[in-house]
Subunit: 294 residues, 2 copies
DNA sequence: TCGGTTTTCTGACTAAGGTCAGAGAATGTC
DNA sequence: GACATTCTCTGACCTTAGTCAGAAAACCGA
């Protein structure tokens, strides 16, 4: 990677994150410790389970407990056990807590305004566009693709979204149990593999490979969450799936798709897949593709 | 300011500065406290006076002293008095300190690489371009224009650079003591005012106003440091100078300029100044401008 | 030479942020 | 019903980061 590129990223890291980050902390942490302010914000208006907070903020359980005691003492938060599992507890904001959170929100707005104020409207537009790009691309860069068991809740979530989307976009609907299936045992090692893409710990995409002895491997259930589209994630996921198929011994891969998935079809065409005559009788498919793996 | 714009800035602040900032700190602070790491980096290969370090990093003098003792104990830094003024001391890196600093540098590179690695080269280019824009525009936004005494060192520095640039760009040279002058007493209240633009505490531009009773005010000595050009700073500075002239009672402002300052001339034309016949006999001027103030 | 200023250092102190080990209650699994 | 696991809490402890007041030395201007 060229030095100029790395230098720009380093300069950005130093100047922007340190300066704006420090400003941010200063604005938010004015009345109470930053940790508490962040926690208050993260609990949100609907409350949040402690274990989720712990995961999202990366806190030690003891530390989180202490922060919550402090917020409880200030009557900003109430912690209560959750129905169904008495071990799990949820933190909820009190009325005062919601007011405090609104004040944090307002300070965050003030900070944003103060950053923008000295700029001309033309410059503001450019800044916002550039911020949007940076945010999207850094998000894209932080996506991680992991092999996961097809019955893992994250995998199941993605599959449900995949089916729901097909049902919603296609007039004839979609039934995953009919035709060329991808049952858990078919996409779990050694028969195949299931991958989930995570963005900040959240599942935002999936895809599966079915290995087939002496026959083309099959790519199945490829899906990207709407909010994660446009990040080049489909391409990365596909690379991973093809790599998996190749590692499983395949020289050629197959996939079939519905005509309503126009973005997916465009992706396939642009990454070396060629349309071929139907190689199976999947009732919900309109296009069949093939690719030689290298 | 529209909500969408403020929201984007807030999202950027939260996601980018917190996430990348935390990563940054984590990478840099792996082996030693962050404060020490930053200090080590800031001392630089050529050493640095303590008072400068204190100002640049915004540290308490007691705290800085302690940090330096700790770095000295680790044999990474030597602090010695400076020739000429025995009160002032400079911190210099030892050989081990330079190695340590190089290691920090390397980690910073690694971080940049790891951010970029998952992206396609097309995405990388877009990211770097967007980072560059964000950095420039946030820099622009953080510039502060302050009224300063014309004999203040920062004012003198800007004036010297201004003269040097004119001397360098113009064949006939430039002598500020000839013709339409801007002597300290002429641009100091109540006769006039001198402004300096600061970027991160550094003087990056200047401009002066000479009030004249019942006559057009004069704009003088307008200069922007080369590295701060393209930030829309000229326009902001000019707004400030015009405001000052207006507040001083003028309804019209005058300025004259050399033909070699093509960017400046473009700025004048685009901000409502109109070229008029010579209104003085400044020997180094080629163009004379006038603007009605509102 | 004297008083004021600049620069650094030291000691005493504080808050924030965080880690670790273990306890205790609820729940799931065999 | 025994046992392992999950989730939260408590107490003890630590480092980092930072503040404040004052002392000591060097310097500057009159």
């Amino acid at each position: 990677m060229s030095d100029a590129i790395v230098d720009q990223v380093r300069r950005f890291n130093r100047i922007v994150t340190e300066r704006v980050g420090a400003l941010n902390d200063h604005f938010l942490g004015r009345e109470r410790p930053l940790g508490e302010a962040r926690l208050l914000w993260e609990i949100g208006l609907d409350g949040c389970e402690l274990r989720v907070l712990r995961a999202r903020l990366g806190l030690d359980s003891g530390y989180l407990s202490r922060l919550l005691r402090s917020l409880e003492a200030a009557r900003l938060v109430k912690v209560a056990p959750v129905d169904g599992d008495q071990r799990v507890r949820v933190a909820r904001l009190t009325a005062a807590g919601r007011r405090e959170r609104a004040a944090l929100d307002e300070r965050s707005d003030e900070l944003a305004q103060s950053l923008l104020a000295p700029l001309s409207s033309n410059q503001r537009e450019r800044l916002v566009a550039a911020m949007h790009d940076v945010e999207r691309l850094l998000s894209a860069a932080s996506v991680q693709i992991t092999a996961v068991d097809p019955e893992h809740p994250d995998a199941q979530y993605c599959l449900a979204e995949y089916v729901a989307e097909l049902n919603c976009r296609s007039e004839r609907g979609f039934d995953p149990s009919v035709g060329a299936t991808a049952l858990p045992h078919e996409v779990r090692p050694p028969a195949g593999e299931f991958f989930v893409a995570y963005l900040h710990g959240e599942a935002v995409g999936c895809g599966a490979v079915k290995h087939r002895a002496d026959a083309p491997a099959e790519i199945k259930r490829m899906w990207i969450a709407p909010r994660a589209r446009g990040l080049g994630l489909g391409r990365r996921l596909m690379e991973r799936l093809e790599g998996c198929a190749l590692a499983g011994g395949a020289r050629v891969a197959h996939l079939e798709t519905s005509a309503v998935l126009v973005e997916a079809i465009a992706l396939y065409r642009s990454t070396g897949w060629v349309e071929v005559p139907a190689f199976n009788d999947e009732p919900f498919a309109d296009h069949w593709f093939e690719k030689a793996l290298t």
